[in-house]
């Protein structure tokens, strides 16, 4: 589990984003792994098998959420769940057709590191402080003499840029393959 928990959590986060349920879903994947150990026949690698369980669990979660959200008034969160589910279904369709559109979580993490190196020093410093030093947007804003909202907006745009960079890297990998 220590070997694969990052892969599973990254895989879940790819579809659930920063939904608070992502952690629970990742935990449930390993509980399911524990329950289904007898069914592992070694045909695929253990990682592939665990990620297929994760895929199944994510689908189940989306279906449950969809049923629950139908009864609630539509809001941004409900819309996001729907959009995430659509993205997941597109991915499922691609996998079903034999086109592995999703990258290996480990590879994706490697691409993120590569893209971090390409950031401007100020952007990298911001990422370093916020993510690696547990600084808050407020504390950074005090240091930089900016508003917390401006810091959050900068972080948001850096993440957007990183996402584009990762997508480009993935396209390169697919092209080479």
């Amino acid at each position: 589990m220590r070997t694969y928990h990052r892969d599973v959590r990254l895989f879940v986060a790819r579809f659930l984003g920063n939904d608070p349920a992502a952690e629970d879903v990742a935990q449930e994947v390993f509980v399911q792994v524990h329950r289904s150990l007898d069914q592992f026949q070694g045909r695929a690698s253990l990682k592939t098998w665990i990620l297929s369980i994760a895929r199944h669990r994510i689908g189940t979660w989306f279906r449950q959420q969809s049923r629950q959200l139908r009864t609630k008034s539509l809001d941004v969160e409900a819309d996001l769940v729907q959009y995430r589910w659509q993205a997941f279904q597109r991915e499922e369709l691609a996998v079903g057709e034999g086109n592995q559109s999703g990258l290996d979580p480990d590879v994706e993490l490697g691409q993120l590191r590569l893209c971090l190196q390409k950031l401007k020093p100020l952007q990298r410093e911001l990422i370093q402080r916020f993510y690696f030093e547990d600084a808050t947007a407020e504390s950074i804003s005090r240091l930089q003499g900016r508003s917390a909202g401006a810091v959050r907006m900068s972080l948001l745009r850096i993440r957007e840029a990183l996402a584009k960079c990762i997508r480009k890297q993935a396209a390169k990998v697919t092209h080479h393959e």
Binding site: M1, R2, A26, F30, V31, H34, L46, R159, I166
Partner: protein, 248 residues
């Protein structure tokens, strides 16, 4: 990332209002009804914005994962193990014959060998779960085998003991048992000195028994055919004659 890309990132975003609303929403600030509707509309109608929002959230999670400390990873592992343990407790799973699945979850090398491990465990369990009757049958079979072998060994040993006085090289031919042979043999007396003397006195052999100790052992009975007889005098004589010839 190239400078042109960085400049583009710093440049005013055409969907700034959407991103500003999104930033406000993700930072936990309360959105007014109008703002909420505007954001909902942007997500619905602007495919690129929606796609970027989802990608941005995924990157946020990746960065958090990349920055995660070992103790935070351990906390996740601990939470899963607690969940599995509570599940086992609830289901009353206690398998003392095989290794705990929690240990398997922790050790990736063991996870890789799950299939093999499981097969071995099943074999072991099938042996352990054999019915009691089967164990009793096996024990009875072993007991009978040991008794049989013991009986056979005792018989063979007895036969060897009774035949000890018989020259096995000239074992009796026929159906007479060793006991019968012994009984028949018993009245026979060893070749007496007087007999030897009489042989000498008859002039057939000149040498005395004391000088020819090779004659003495002829006292052993010789089994001929189905009868056991004492050494006949002629045989003794022949022996002596042979010894005499050798001397000459």
């Amino acid at each position: 990332m190239s400078d042109s890309e960085n400049q583009r990132n710093d440049a005013p975003n055409p969907n700034l209002s959407s991103w500003a609303l999104w930033e406000q929403y993700t930072s936990g600030e309360e959105l007014t009804r109008k703002q909420s509707e505007a954001l909902t509309e942007s997500l619905k109608s602007d495919d690129e914005f929606r796609h970027n929002v989802l990608a941005e959230q995924a990157v946020d999670q990746m960065l958090r994962m990349e920055a995660e400390r070992p103790d935070q990873s351990e906390a996740f592992v601990a939470r899963v193990l607690a969940k599995v343990a509570s599940l086992e407790t609830n289901q009353g799973i206690s398998n003392s014959t095989s290794q705990s699945p929690i240990v398997k979850l922790l050790d990736p090398t063991q996870l890789e060998n799950i299939k093999k491990d499981r097969q071995i465990t099943r074999n072991e369990e099938s042996i352990l779960r054999r019915p009691r009757g089967a164990w009793l049958s096996i024990a009875a079979l072993v007991l009978v085998s040991v008794t049989g072998v013991g009986y056979w060994y005792r018989n063979v040993h007895r036969e060897q003991g009774s035949n000890r006085s018989i020259d096995l090289a000239e074992a009796p031919k026929g159906t007479e048992s060793a006991a019968d042979l012994t009984a028949e043999l018993a009245p026979q007396q060893p070749f007496k000195e007087s007999q030897m003397e009489s042989v000498v006195d008859n002039g057939i052999a000149k040498s005395t028994p004391t000088n020819e100790p090779s004659v003495e052992p002829v006292v052993n009975p010789i089994v001929q055919g189905s009868n056991v007889v004492a050494v006949p005098q002629q045989t003794a004589l022949a022996t002596v004659t042979k010894a005499e010839r050798l001397e000459t």
